[in-house]
């Protein structure tokens, strides 16, 4: 019985066989074209993740990172990290930082996108200028803001004093009350252009007839936004928010040069903690364990946002 079934195709004449071999050739072609991508992602992302997870389960004083096999396997790093009350603080600060960046960056990005979608003279020059912060290296952004936010000579203090919002200079980066705000501002500045870019692109895809039809039906400006613009923006906006959000959640380039995680850990997010554990205290196992915990948290947040992301990627 089974014999008959498995042999049935070969009794057929050649055409279906040739068609199958063409499909097979296509498959081989498709996969070989994809090989460089898979190699790049596999060798430099999958393998490092494997090493990091391996490292997170190793005990003892780890000095020889190239031969991890010699160190005993243990759950001690996770036990230490999870019972350490500081972890909750790090997670909380990561969330504050992420939300603190994404919300204003999205608001600025959306406002600019709506503005740049209108016709006005000089728009061709205004648009690249408005998107410009995206092209500035993060470290240069940090340098500029560390100077502008300087406690004694910073221009931000000077301007705020001039308009009477503050009386005394504020030590933005050196005081634990203001340090988080001070690292959020440059990050917002760097990230809003991505939202503008994505939203301008989405706005341009809306057919003009839709607005005309809405106007003919007597829709107000707000109604046009609510019922024509926003539905077209929702999916790309959700995807951009998630991509930026997970990016900011593990962002390092702004916080580390500006405050190094201080003062008093006020700006120690998970990403900064991972770095400091490894390169300040040389506790590699703990650093890797926090890293894995960070990945799990970010993954969980990603899954929670999963539905809107799938819509955006369709």
């Amino acid at each position: 019985m089974t014999d008959v079934l498995t042999h049935a195709p070969t009794t057929q004449p050649s055409p279906p066989k040739r068609r199958r071999s063409r499909a097979q050739r296509d498959r081989i072609f498709a996969w070989s074209m994809l090989t460089p991508t898979i190699a790049a992602v596999g060798l430099l992302m999958a393998y490092p993740i494997y090493i990091a997870i391996n490292l997170s389960f190793r005990g003892g004083e780890i000095a020889d990172l190239q031969n991890l096999g010699q160190y005993p396997l243990t759950l001690g790093n996770y036990a230490d990290v999870i019972t350490d009350p500081q972890l909750l603080g790090d997670i909380w600060r990561s969330i504050v930082y992420t939300v603190g960046v994404v919300v204003p960056a999205f608001a600025i990005g959306l406002g600019l996108a709506l503005l740049l979608n209108k016709t006005f003279p000089g728009k061709r020059i205004v648009r690249p200028l408005a998107l410009l912060p995206w092209a500035v290296p993060g470290v240069a952004v940090s340098a500029a803001f560390s100077w502008m936010l300087d406690g004694s000579f910073g221009v931000v203090n000077y301007l705020l004093r001039s308009v009477g919002l503050i009386e005394q200079n504020v030590a933005w980066l050196a005081s634990s009350d203001t340090a988080m705000t001070a690292v959020i501002i440059p990050t917002v500045w760097k990230f809003y252009p991505f939202f503008t870019l994505v939203l301008v692109a989405a706005l341009q895809a809306i057919p003009g007839d839709l607005y005309e039809a809405a106007r003919l039906d007597g829709a107000s400006a707000w109604q046009q936004f609510r019922y024509v613009t926003w539905p077209a923006l929702r999916a790309p906006a959700a995807l951009a928010i998630v991509i930026t959000g997970v990016g900011v959640f593990r962002e390092f380039d702004f916080i580390f040069p500006l405050t190094g995680g201080g003062p008093d850990d006020a700006t120690t997010t998970l990403a900064v903690r991972i770095y400091n554990e490894a390169f300040e205290y040389f506790t590699f196992g703990a650093s890797a364990a926090i890293g894995v915990v960070t990945m799990v948290i970010a993954g969980a947040l990603l899954l929670m946002a999963g539905r809107s992301v799938r819509e955006g990627m369709n």
Binding site: L34, T37, M45, L115, P128, L129, V136, M295
Partner: protein, 283 residues
């Protein structure tokens, strides 16, 4: 000509321009302040009420000369250029092949790629640098620019492959079928028929890869301990932690690190919006 004139400008349009300019003044103030700081001598800046425009009698480009003399800025910029161009060119090739494959052949890889994109964004760079360092140390590639290039390629490729898939999706399959019926092989069809149509996509991928690689700090810092191998971002970061910061010099270095990206951006920005519209993030 008369058509352009007859279209005219309404007061409302001038109003929008005024709003845009006001917004730009606020948004670009940090860039202005960097330029301003770089042309004013440090001692005039270290007061509680710094001048808001460069005083005519003391403004100069001295800070640029000094910082170029005291640090190997030129070398760092050159290293950054090599890393950036290497990353961008390799990423373009890899992601064009990968994007074409994902667009034209429906495989399981396609879905997996979307998640790989998000997953790669999620990975803390600070977690990856220890293993990445270990890998390149075993390969004897510390202080080797190729190490930085390869890591940046890996960081760029998930997103750019996804982006390129979107661009290939927008090209009707009939075009290449016609070429293949004429006897063109698959690779030749890709090179001679598809690639020329992908130009906006290539420009978008190039810009994205350049911005990412040029801005990279963590990987270059970890893999390049030797100061003469530093990229410009690592060089700039080395200023910030110093005991007394030379702000004019630091801002001059910052401006020099921005200029190449600004030039690139001005040329390629029009493609970016089109790219995003037809590419990955369409609704």
């Amino acid at each position: 000509m008369s058509k352009v004139l007859s279209r005219g400008r309404t007061p409302q349009q001038w109003g929008l321009l005024a709003i845009s300019l006001a917004v730009l003044v606020v948004l670009l103030f940090p860039v202005y302040w960097m330029i301003m700081t770089s042309v004013v001598p440090s001692k005039e800046l270290l007061t509680s009420s710094p001048p808001l425009v460069p005083p005519a009698d003391s403004a100069s480009l001295d800070a640029y000369g000094e910082v170029l003399e005291s640090r190997p800025i030129g070398l760092w910029l050159w290293n950054s250029t090599l890393v950036t161009l290497g990353t961008a060119l390799i990423s373009i090739v890899i992601s064009t092949l990968g994007g074409y494959s994902l667009s034209r052949f429906r495989t399981k890889a396609q879905q997996a790629m979307g998640f790989t994109l998000l997953f790669s964004r999620m990975l803390p760079g600070t977690l990856l640098i220890i293993p990445v360092f270990v890998i390149f140390a075993s390969a004897g590639m510390i202080n080797n620019l190729w190490a930085v290039i390869l890591v940046n390629v890996a960081a760029t490729v998930p997103f750019t492959t996804w982006l390129m898939k979107g661009f290939v999706d927008a090209i009707p399959a009939e075009i290449e079928e016609a070429a293949m019926i004429d006897g063109c092989g698959r690779l030749r069809t890709l090179w001679q028929v598809i690639v020329p149509l992908l130009r906006p996509g290539l420009a978008t991928t190039f810009t994205y890869a350049c911005i990412l690689a040029w801005g990279d700090f963590l990987f270059a810092r970890t893999l390049m301990p030797n100061p003469s191998d530093w990229t410009i971002t690592v060089g700039i970061a080395s200023f910030i932690g110093e005991f007394s910061v030379d702000w004019s010099g630091l801002m001059a270095a910052g401006i020099m690190s921005m200029v190449p990206m600004l030039i690139l951006f001005v040329f390629l920005e029009p493609f970016l919006v089109k790219g995003m519209a037809s590419g990955s993030v369409k609704g």
